[in-house]
Symmetry: C2
Subunit: 461 residues, 2 copies
Amino acid sequence: MTRPVDQVLAAVDAGLDQSLERLFAFLRIPSVSTDSAYAAHCAAAADWLKADLATMGFAAEARATGGHPAVVAKSPGGAGPHALFYGHYDVQPVDPLDLWETPPFEPRIATGPDGSKRIVARGACDDKGQVMTFVEACRAWKAVTGSLPVGITMLIEGEEESGSKHLFDFVRANKADLAADIALVCDTGMWDKETPAITTSLRGIVVDEFKVVAADRDLHSGVYGGAAANPIHMIAKAIAAIHGPDGRIAIPGFYDGVEDLPADILADWKGLDLKAEDFLGAIGLKHPIGEKDRLLIEMVSSRPTCDINGIWGGYTGEGSKTVIPSEAWAKVTMRLVGKQDPVKVRDAFRAHIRAQLPADCRAEFFGSRGSAAIALPWDMPVLAKARGALTAEWGRKAVTIGSGGSIPIVGAFKEDLGLDTLLVGFGLEDDRVHSPNEKYDLTSFHKGIRSWVRILDALAA
Amino acid sequence: MTRPVDQVLAAVDAGLDQSLERLFAFLRIPSVSTDSAYAAHCAAAADWLKADLATMGFAAEARATGGHPAVVAKSPGGAGPHALFYGHYDVQPVDPLDLWETPPFEPRIATGPDGSKRIVARGACDDKGQVMTFVEACRAWKAVTGSLPVGITMLIEGEEESGSKHLFDFVRANKADLAADIALVCDTGMWDKETPAITTSLRGIVVDEFKVVAADRDLHSGVYGGAAANPIHMIAKAIAAIHGPDGRIAIPGFYDGVEDLPADILADWKGLDLKAEDFLGAIGLKHPIGEKDRLLIEMVSSRPTCDINGIWGGYTGEGSKTVIPSEAWAKVTMRLVGKQDPVKVRDAFRAHIRAQLPADCRAEFFGSRGSAAIALPWDMPVLAKARGALTAEWGRKAVTIGSGGSIPIVGAFKEDLGLDTLLVGFGLEDDRVHSPNEKYDLTSFHKGIRSWVRILDALAA
């Protein structure tokens, strides 16, 4: 007789069109969390998810957090461990809108250059598509067997793209409610189209915003030009001083707590042989800009970074304006690794910016937040089970990698709930997450659902 | 018996309220020339001016230029020379709008900190207020004597704030129509509240705009951060390299054609003793940022400059976005002096920017234009007449100064029409031209009208 898992996998294949319809409905909701103008849409996305999970027999609620609501949904399971699944329903802003080939919130199936099918929409991958791989896997288990192999609590938040502002308090305030044996997250990527991956380390992050102020008003460059400090030049000078010619970050103390990789991991990564022409070639670049003495894969996963994400000042409209502005602004994010302290890094950054400014200029900083990097135990028991399940689905040994991204809440799962987190995702490097024309391969979605079906089965064993 | 000029001056004093009403009507028209959204308002300002001049008996027309119309108005005069008066009815953009205490196009009379009255509105000084000092002087002469002491052709354009784009061709195409013996311009400033000035040199200008491009799309800093070139950092590096630590502009060849002042002028300027605490103190600054070995007055009038007027790139909305943008943009203006060649300076700037960029980044440049600096002959015959008239009105010897600003068309008056230009204006350093809350002292307006009444009288002598 066929094992239940095979019947469930067959059900996934048979129901793929309906699974896609549900994903598309989810993607049509413009749940941009960083812009308060979209607050109602974030609430709508939470309600949509709550209703969908309720139809599967989950006890689902959209809970207030002080920001956008968090969806909490529970379903008991068999003898196996209880799992806390985390994902987010909010998405990145869509600008620059004019670079989208079709409207970002009108999902469609497109054909990629290699003939493969892909889902195109904001959130197709990050994170609505990935969340739905898990939701659809649970749906299939329930449809076929009437229950789940393991008990599941879902926590789907709406503020991941704006730093999970309120989720940390929410987790602390709901420890009993979120209690579990293991945390599962689907917000990471594959190694490549064929090779599944489990992410065992995540970079931390510090977010800051600042302005450089000179004169107390905008000035006419014909009157004051040559004498008055120009804050655009001064912020440029400060930003130019962040990196040295060797690609290292020149902020004093920035690298405190950064450790080199264990020799065996470094050897594995050398074996993966990530090439600039492949990784950067895909986006029209050739030359890694990081520390000259590091592997490319280190630069993007195990080394810290500092990137200005936005800059503005003076006249940016049509034509020209001979103005020396009073202020210039910038937004920055720093990716942390190892034992770097977010507060110390933030303060070191601020001191470095201030140190570059002349007497007549001052810098003011706003809205900083941060989270330290995290690394999961390599000997985590469920790791072997998940690797087995993924290897079975994809026919290739699943690799364990470090992620350059940050999922701050995973640190809180460990600290506040005592949970290790299994990070499995099906994103690809060319998914354009955070960019125009974001996509998620149909294979990632389909085999992602199948992968979770197998992982849930393995966790129960 | 009283001389006509005294009767005309008395008429100016008696009619000041009506003069103000006319200026306010002119100021209420939002004739921003750099933004095509305001094109209809520019046309309306030209029509208003044409109609007003017609009521004074001028043969007035709003003439097509390929851009915003130029107002040309003529009235014959007595035996004296024929004068071509130039000014502009267009104004600077008003952003940042939220820094205006009252709406920029709702002119009002305010009281300054010293108790003096001032006209507050965009264009109050630059250049509507200044243009109307001349127009009202003509009106008074006509009202009292029925004619003008000298023949006058007015040329009031609508594109000065966007580089007089089409006026150069217009002047070349209408040489006969604009023929005169001397050009008069009212778009400059006084030395201080009490001391009138005649401007005898103007800086030239080069305007350019550029973008630095790295990847072919916006990137997720968590995926590519540390490896992919960030164009914001690269444009910052390029901008930071424009000036050296000594305050000099570090662009190779930039200073070609820049000459030191004649010893006697330098001596005069040392005598004027322009102090940083006065000139910069008024705008909340203390330390001149220019060449360390130069006088402050040289920095702002006889030395070349390079100022970034606007910069933008990446995410500039609310909250944060972990993006590495594909492009970063900047707008620049350079003020030229002496024999600097605008084309050579532009090319040197572009080469310098490109030289700062790494292999994966490229710079693209857009919409440059330029004009060389001009210097008027110190022995220009009408100079003495104008100095006499100004000294009589203000009770202080009028000084001759260099202006840091640029009025490109003055070069064309010399080249195409063979005219020297007498630059007399009544603006003050604290007028906030190009800034929020632009103002024009009521004294500047009133005594400005009276000054032109006297200058027209003197020119006829």
